[in-house]
């Protein structure tokens, strides 16, 4: 087995184990959030093995760095107790989760069936150059629409927050 394969299994195992730890650890919300960080970072490791370097960097910066820190911030601010999050309270969530799990399993098996050797990567694949070019040429309209949407969301959040203060 080559080094990338070994690394893949390490990162994959880490991602799965920490994801499970996040869900099953209902007693300690902060530890749960920290497991989420491990999941995010190991996913970034898998992206690097897939030659998607930019996505890996952004995965760590945006998900690992910014978003989960915000989660952590909120959890620490509220200082949640475990009894407020007992899973028994929402029983239908379990059924929905099980249904979703079956769906994912079927989907995953279907994907594995069509597994084949990847084609050779084009020059500069996964770098910021190619991604930037396609974002600002082929997908320009979508990028602009998303930025408009985000601006609207920010303005909306600001107005809501200000109304509370005033």
């Amino acid at each position: 087995m080559s080094v990338p394969f070994v690394l893949f299994y390490i990162f994959a195992a880490l991602a799965v184990v920490s994801a499970l730890a996040m869900i099953l650890n209902v007693r300690n919300t902060v530890a749960s959030v920290m497991s989420l960080v491990v999941t995010m970072v190991s996913l970034a490791g898998i992206y690097v093995l897939l030659a998607a370097y930019l996505v890996a960097a952004i995965q760590i910066m945006v998900y690992g760095g910014a978003i989960v820190v915000l989660f952590l911030f909120v959890v620490m601010l509220l200082n949640l107790r475990s009894d407020e999050f007992l899973p028994a309270r929402q029983r239908w969530m379990k059924f929905a989760g099980a249904l979703l799990g079956v769906f994912l399993l079927v989907e995953g098996l279907r994907l594995l069936g069509g597994f084949h050797e990847p084609p050779p990567l084009p020059e500069g694949f996964g770098g910021y150059r190619l991604l930037g070019l396609s974002l600002y040429t082929d997908y320009l309209l979508i990028v602009e629409v998303i930025s408009l949407l985000l601006t609207a969301a920010i303005v909306g959040a600001l107005i809501l927050a200000k109304r509370e203060i005033d």
Binding site: N28, V30, A31, M34, V37, V41, A44, Y53, L54, A56, A57, I58, I60, M61, G64, G65, A66, V69, L70, L72, F73, M76, L77, G124, G127, Y128
Partner: protein, 386 residues
């Protein structure tokens, strides 16, 4: 290839970081002493020999290692023990993409003096920097102390805010050099440019007098001359990321004892301290590479240096000499940047917390966006003239 990487890694660990980080505890004490009109650290001695107080780092290590390692009652033990490690590791591994010398050819083999020549080098540093927040937050939360928790909250808010502005403040540099790879950026800065040279490009047929091609009108093509505003903003934001004074609100002694590491003792406290010092070295290296030309010698390009020395000693020795001189140049610039950080640390009082946030969101963020626009417009106008 792996051997080369291991050698470079060890070189960075023992020469670049290993030599600077411990001495910096001494430097900091000495500098504060000078600035506060005291004599300063000079008491630690081995049978009467004090070596200007240089034995203090040694005494520190002995003291920290022999202190009791306390985990407070009610603390989350695992996280309390892990937090200093999580804080220290990102500081060390960030150095992997910072070049400490240039790219050289030895008998047909090209060697780039950087551990990883990753195409996304600067993004890697930002990613590592965003992970560094967790050490602080884990330390503050797991200590089960209100002071620690307050410190952790302040730290996390400050660090996410400044990450955003840190990224935006160097976009101008990406645009000017057209790359995210730190070695390529340093290579781009390995030339000089005429300050008024763009006039020849803008006005067809216009020739500058020969006077303007000489010393005071020719500058090394460093980031600081191309992006002066970017330099100031980046220095401010990255110093805020490191949480050292004047941005040390997460550990403001007058308000919250020692912030997130109030409950730490012994070498675990020492690790936080070490992480901070290593980060100072990393910041110095990063600012040097982005804005001060990295390992380049001002006004003398690599090819020029090797070309001038080769007739005397032969090409192989000339290249070797060039490696040494450029590495020393890099270290000299790093030391200057460390000195600047220390002077700012002792020269400025602590910000008030809301001022830190105002500076980030109302000061640097709009300025950095303006900087990006102006840089883009200038690049469109005179981008091809260099």
């Amino acid at each position: 290839m792996p051997v080369e990487v291991i050698v470079k890694t060890l070189f960075i660990l023992f020469v670049v970081i290993g030599a600077l980080a411990p001495v910096m505890t001494w430097t900091e004490r000495k500098q504060s002493a000078v600035m506060q009109d005291r004599i300063g650290a000079n008491r630690a001695d081995i049978s009467g020999i004090t070596v200007l107080g240089l034995l203090h780092p040694l005494a520190d290590v002995v003291k920290l290692l022999t202190k009791e390692d306390v985990v407070p009652r009610g603390a989350n033990r695992v996280m309390h023990l892990l937090a200093p490690i999580v804080a220290a590791v990102p500081a060390v591994i960030a150095y992997g993409v910072i070049p400490f010398a240039g790219v050289y050819t030895f008998g047909g083999e090209t060697i780039s003096m950087v551990v990883s020549n990753a195409d996304w080098g600067l993004l890697y540093i930002f990613a590592i920097g965003s992970i560094a927040t967790y050490g602080t937050v884990m330390a503050g939360w797991s200590s089960n102390s209100n002071w620690s928790l307050l410190g952790a909250m302040r730290a996390s808010a400050q660090m996410i805010s400044y990450e955003v502005t840190m990224g935006l403040s160097v976009v101008g540099i990406f645009m000017v050099f057209g790359t995210l790879q730190l070695q390529t950026m340093a290579l781009e800065q390995d030339t000089s440019f005429r300050i008024l040279g763009f006039l020849e490009y803008l006005i067809p047929g216009f020739q500058l007098p020969a006077l303007f091609s000489a010393f005071p009108f020719v500058l090394p093509k460093w980031g600081i001359f191309l992006q002066p505003l970017g330099f100031l903003m980046f220095l401010a934001t990255i110093m805020a990321e490191n949480k050292r004074p004047p941005f040390d609100v997460p550990e403001g002694e007058s308000e919250i004892i020692a912030g997130y590491f109030t409950e730490y003792s012994g070498m675990r406290f020492g690790l936080f301290f070490m992480a901070e010092f290593i980060e100072v070295v990393v910041i110095a290296g990063l600012v040097t590479t982005l804005f001060l030309g990295g390992w380049t010698i001002p006004w003398v390009s690599t090819a020029g240096f090797i070309g001038a020395v080769t007739p005397a000693v032969g090409e192989g020795v000339a290249t070797g000499l060039c490696v040494i001189v450029q590495f020393l140049m890099f270290m000299a610039k790093v030391v200057v940047m460390i000195w600047l950080q220390m002077s700012l640390r002792w020269g400025l009082p602590r910000f008030r917390y809301d001022h830190v946030m105002d500076l980030c969101w109302k000061g640097i963020l709009p300025l950095s966006i303006v900087n990006i626009f102006v840089t883009g417009a200038l690049l469109l106008l005179v981008g091809d003239a260099s």
